[in-house]
Amino acid sequence: MSPVLVGSTGFVLLLVLLLLRIPVAFAMFTIGFAGIWLLNGLQAATGLLSSETFALASNSELIVVPLFILMGNVASVTGMSRRLYEAAYATIGQVRGGLAAATVIGCGGFAALSGSSVASALTMGRTALAEMDRFNYDPRLSTGVVAAGGTLGILIPPSTGFVIYAILTEQSIGRLFMAGILPGILLLTLFLLTVLLLCTLKPALGPKGPSTTLAEKRRAFLGAIPILVVILLTIGGIYTGIFSPTEAAGVGAALVIGIGALSGTLDLRSFWQAAQSSVVTTASVMLILIAAHLINPFIALSHLPAEVSRMLVSFDLGAYGTLVLILAIYLVLGCFLEGLAMLVLTLPIFMPVVLSLGIDPIWFGVLVVLTLEMGLISPPVGINVFIVKSVAKNVPLVEIFWGVIPFWLAMLVTLGLLVAIPQLSLWLPGMM
């Protein structure tokens, strides 16, 4: 069996296992391990299984996963996130879907704090889902908003996606960060419009709240001050260099714990339960990330990306045609692969093609990162959807996938606009 055939068969089998309701991580482990075994021998497969497992479980940047979950959990048991949503509800609750819109804006804010989409979806999910549920928002809308809004983490700087792209393609990190700003705002705006449109078409998704007096608004706002202080301190600490974005997760967790303890809203028992449930959620998220890192070498060994690109070049479609085809390939690959792994696998192959066609690499970087974001919520392997599922146990996964579809379409529209108008990406970095 040729490596390419093994690779393609692997994709199909992965899909079958997932649809058979085998846990996502187990299915990916099985296919990755078996594929590497077939293509590179048992010794290589066991070697990768142990080294990837330990390397990811001791990865200094992924420590943000348990820390942000802890921050979200404690903010939730102490009522801090509830008061934040009460403030938002008092302010824009009388607008249909107002809380979902506030959540989108919250995701944008969190994206400016974190470079990773996983962290964004986890924290926002922990904070926002129960609250929207309390105000009778349809879980389809609330989970869709969080899963899609969380992806803003890698488009709005700082962004791990842009850093990896810059290093793989020798582009400027600073220019890429600048290039991501306008598309990030554009996408955020389209998400907001999507929420409003959905709630206009189907008001039950995000019901209107009662109107509030100025005094009620002020009281609700005062209640939200502790969590707003935590958010400001955390973002401020990053931008003034007091701590790194990774450490910010730990500092943020410590701040909510401290405020909770001092204000008497956090007793030892609920604190321990919040911490233990963070560890359990971490386990389910990290096991998927580890498994995704076994799929990565399997695809590399299958020569699949190289074969696809050879085919691509032979089509000879011109600059725009090839660009669209490459983006389409990213959308398909994004259904199966973890985002950053996808960059590593494909950029060495696509970059020479892109450069030879005279496509601006900064522009291409923005387009690619946007397709990565779309991959994070495309079935069957949509990491952000799994993450939202891990904090919203009672919502069926299929509901979440339905919920993200309108936002996925908004991203597709954004992608189209960015392809049609390169200046949206290139204007800001051009000012540098």
Binding site: L18, L19, L20, R21, I22, P23, V24, A25, F26, T30, F33, T46, G47, L49, S50, T53, F54, A57, S58, N59, S60, L62, I63, P66, L67, L70, N73, S76, V77, I242, F243, E247, G250, V251, A253, A254, S270, Q273, A274, A275, Q276, S277, S278, V279, V280, T281, T282, A283, S284, L287, I288, P380, F386, K389, S390, K393, P396, L397, V398, F401
Partner: protein
């Protein structure tokens, strides 16, 4: 006999989650001390070593409880369309597959730990031996495998297990 097995397993699962939770709180403390110290010119020596090695305990400490509480994420699109028999068979199969995976992880990481000892691998500043944490990962994986086998057994016998103590989410 079965009751005793169940009790032992529950004890191990709770212990494993306890260690992971303790690890998480420890990491919060380390980061705060390091950040404050660094801004006064006295960073915590080897803070990163402590964080990354404790992370192993956090990540794998939660695996068993996650398995026991059915916390591993599944694509449930067709669940309502499958017959109850098929759904039960899938549960048993998934539990056994997961147990095999965790045993395999434990075995291969055990081999790596022996290699780490031979190569004298340790963290860069505090010289914490890598092998210690690899052995810990093996032990925690085996507890996770045990939890998954018990899930599979319960599904096969048609028993709905009692909810675990730490299951309720805040």
């Amino acid at each position: 006999m079965r009751a005793m097995l169940q009790k032992t397993a529950d004890g191990l699962i709770s212990l494993s989650a306890f260690l992971g939770t303790l690890g998480l709180l420890f990491v919060v403390g380390v980061i705060v001390v390091d950040v404050i110290g660094r801004n006064f010119g006295m960073p915590l020596y080897g803070a990163q070593d402590l964080v990354i090695m404790t992370m192993v305990i956090i990540v794998f400490g939660g695996m068993a409880l996650c398995a026991r509480d059915d916390g591993h994420i599944v694509v449930d699109i067709f669940e309502p369309h499958f017959s109850p028999r098929l759904n039960r068979a899938i549960d048993v199969g998934a539990g056994l597959l997961g147990a095999v995976i965790f045993v395999l992880i434990a075995y291969t990481v055990f081999k790596s730990a022996q290699l780490s000892q031979m190569l004298n691998l340790s963290t860069n500043l505090l010289r914490l031996p890598t092998a210690w944490f690899q052995y810990a990962l093996c032990a925690l994986s085996l507890v996770a495998a045990l939890a998954l086998m018990m899930r599979a057994a319960c599904s096969a016998l048609g028993i709905r297990p009692a909810p675990a103590s730490g299951q309720e989410t805040p």
